[in-house]
């Protein structure tokens, strides 16, 4: 087990740290689940080993004061607690990487991790009780490994939720864990755990095996019925009441509490909105980080740390006209207008030429700069003309600055 902790900290370090959203706890918990297939696999193998030792020692053939479940528990406690410690090491590594504020890890995810480890260990133990360790240990290792890692690549998308392997992809700041996915994993693992417990406690009599199978089917059915409606992701939109909104000048900015330097972000957003409005761009009165902005609000990115340029890019991408639905399966001539319009908005919002070129390219930036030399009224006409074209599938954009003068 100490070896396993070293393995997690060193070997899967990059996976634990690479995809975390800075300063956001759910993302920490999600990333910390990436080594779980390995941990559960090792626990299943060790469980099988312990089970085989008890069988070889003929422990259960002898009269004993303690019940079978008690004896099993005593043998498996080191395995399970070792697995759990390794999970906590994973949490520590990704928490350090994300630089989250001090807090208690999400106990729901820790519970799912614990249940998955317990289920793997007990299933391995039951296999180990039955067969020679030369067979049971490899079979448990392979079985647990495939069961814990394979569903994630399956085309039937909901299966992965049974073994909780979709939490790894969590989360951007506007997402939280889907409680349904958590319950689905809990139901499935609880079925396995209870089935194993009954079989161990009743010494694998026929009735016990029947009851165990019934529990297994019950748990799996509950897990499947919970997981069926889910897509591949185990997240939902974060409730809007966690947003922190303040009004500055005449724009309201709503940020998630995890955003670093919220004051600076608000000030930057307000000044960007001011310069865009003076250039003639209609900006709604509210900028929000909510996943589903209400009417009269526009989306303000999905970040926790951002510099002025990133805030500008977040505001502008929220203000770009939405691509119409018909463009998904049909011609969309206004596609070419997106980059020049964005570039013009960048320049209008006070970005330098180099910053704009970094977001688009040099030719687009040059075109946008030519537009910027026109009179304010003609710039506004250029913007209105091209965004109107972008909202339909038939409108043709007129990007040349000279167009529309005749």
């Amino acid at each position: 087990m100490p070896l396993l902790i070293v393995f997690v900290v060193v070997a899967v370090n990059q996976d634990l740290t690479e995809w975390t959203t800075p300063h956001y706890w759910p993302s920490v918990m999600g990333s910390s689940m990436s080594p779980l297939p390995f941990i559960a696999t090792i626990c299943a193998g060790l469980g099988a080993w312990e089970g085989a030792r008890l069988t070889r020692g003929a422990v259960f053939q002898q009269p004993s004061v303690r019940g079978p479940l008690h004896i099993t528990g005593a043998v498996l406690v080191p395995v399970i607690s070792g697995g759990l410690l390794t999970c906590l090491a994973g949490v520590a590594v990704s928490a350090t990487a994300a630089g989250v504020s001090w807090g208690f890890p999400d106990w729901r995810i820790l519970t799912v991790e614990f249940l998955l480890i317990l289920a793997s260990t007990l299933a391995g133990y039951c296999v180990g009780r039955q067969f020679n360790p030369a067979i049971s240990v490899p079979v448990s290792l392979i079985g647990a490994f495939v069961a814990n890692s394979y569903p994630r690549s399956w085309e039937t998308l909901w299966v992965r939720h049974l073994v909780g392997s979709a939490f790894v992809d969590c989360c951007t700041p506007s997402e939280i864990f889907n409680v349904r996915a958590i319950w689905s994993a809990v139901a499935f693992t609880a079925g396995i755990i209870l089935a194993c417990a009954v079989i161990i406690d009743r010494r694998a009599t026929r009735a016990a095996i029947a009851a165990g199978l019934a529990l297994l089917v019950l748990g799996t059915a509950a897990g499947v019925s919970l997981a069926r409606p889910l897509s591949s992701s185990a997240v939902t939109a974060r409730p809007d009441n966690q947003l922190r909104c303040t009004q500055k000048q005449d724009v309201t900015v709503c940020l998630w509490p995890e955003v670093v330097h919220p004051g600076a972000v608000r000030a930057q957003a307000a000044s960007i909105v001011k310069s865009l409005r003076s250039a003639g761009v209609p900006v709604p009165p509210e900028l929000t980080m909510s996943a589903r902005p209400a009417h009269g609000a526009t989306r303000l990115g999905n970040f926790t740390e951002a510099n002025a340029d990133q805030v500008r890019s977040a505001v502008i991408s929220g203000l770009m006209p939405a691509t119409p639905r018909c463009a998904l399966h049909g011609p969309y001539p206004a596609q070419v207008a997106a980059a020049p319009v964005a570039a013009w908005m960048f320049l209008s919002a006070g970005a330098t030429q180099a910053q704009t070129a970094a977001h688009t390219d040099n030719n687009t930036t040059a075109l946008a700069q030519k537009v910027r030399t026109l009179s304010p009224a003609r710039q506004k006409a250029w913007y209105d003309r091209n965004t109107a074209a972008m909202r339909t599938c038939t409108g043709k954009p007129q990007l040349s600055p000279e167009a529309g003068t005749a």
């Binding site: 393995f7 390995f38 030369a134 490994f145 890692s149």
Partner: protein
């Protein structure tokens, strides 16, 4: 000799080899998505994991004997075990070769090569730690390699031989050398007596 083969679970082993190759052809190319050491995640296949099964059954057969009794047997037991391992390895290679000729899938070569190498690993670990622990250790080899055996661009490291593609000559040579190494260890090394009972 019939008893000797019986206690080594010869028919179960033959069946396992056939089942492994068959299963590998059916679902061997299914990928297991895994966290890995380096950024580029490789594709670890089920076909690289299940060839452990023949090695496990081999260890089950050789391990259920009474080691103390066999150590004073009239027959050269260790030479026989090494020879038995070689027979099984040749049988795995032959089955996988036939499967490749019939199905023309690269995974058949991977299964044959990895099966060969895992038998070698099994012999090596059994000589050091006894057959029971060897089964688990042999299975850990592909699982650990699946986590640490990838380069940044998603290709396997040359030393991670079970992960190499079937066309790799290096992989085949590595598997054969592992088998040879395992047989040598079986011939010369004695596991401590407490592991052999």
């Amino acid at each position: 000799m019939i008893w000797w083969l019986k206690i080594r679970a010869a028919w179960v082993l033959v069946g396992t080899v056939l089942a492994t190759v068959g299963l590998g052809l059916l679902m061997g190319t299914a990928k297991l998505p895994l966290p890995v050491l380096t950024g580029g995640s490789g594709s670890f296949l089920i076909g690289q994991l299940i060839p452990v099964l023949p090695a496990a059954i081999f260890l089950y057969g050789t391990g259920r004997t009474d080691g103390r009794l066999e150590s004073i047997a009239a027959h050269p037991m260790r030479a026989l075990d090494a020879g038995w391992a070689l027979c099984i390895a040749i049988f795995i290679a032959g089955t996988a070769g036939c499967a490749y000729l019939l199905a023309r899938q690269e995974i058949a070569i991977v299964i044959g090569r990895d099966g060969l190498g895992y038998i070698g690993m099994a012999l090596f670990f059994a000589a050091l730690f006894g057959p029971r622990a060897a089964a688990g250790l042999t299975t850990l080899v592909p699982i650990v390699l699946a986590a640490i055996g990838w380069q940044a661009d998603g290709r396997p490291h040359p030393w991670a031989w079970p992960l190499l593609p079937g066309t790799s000559v290096l992989g085949l040579l590595a598997a054969m050398s592992v088998l040879t190494l395992g047989m040598c260890f079986t011939l010369v090394w004695r596991a401590p007596i407490q592991f052999r009972r």
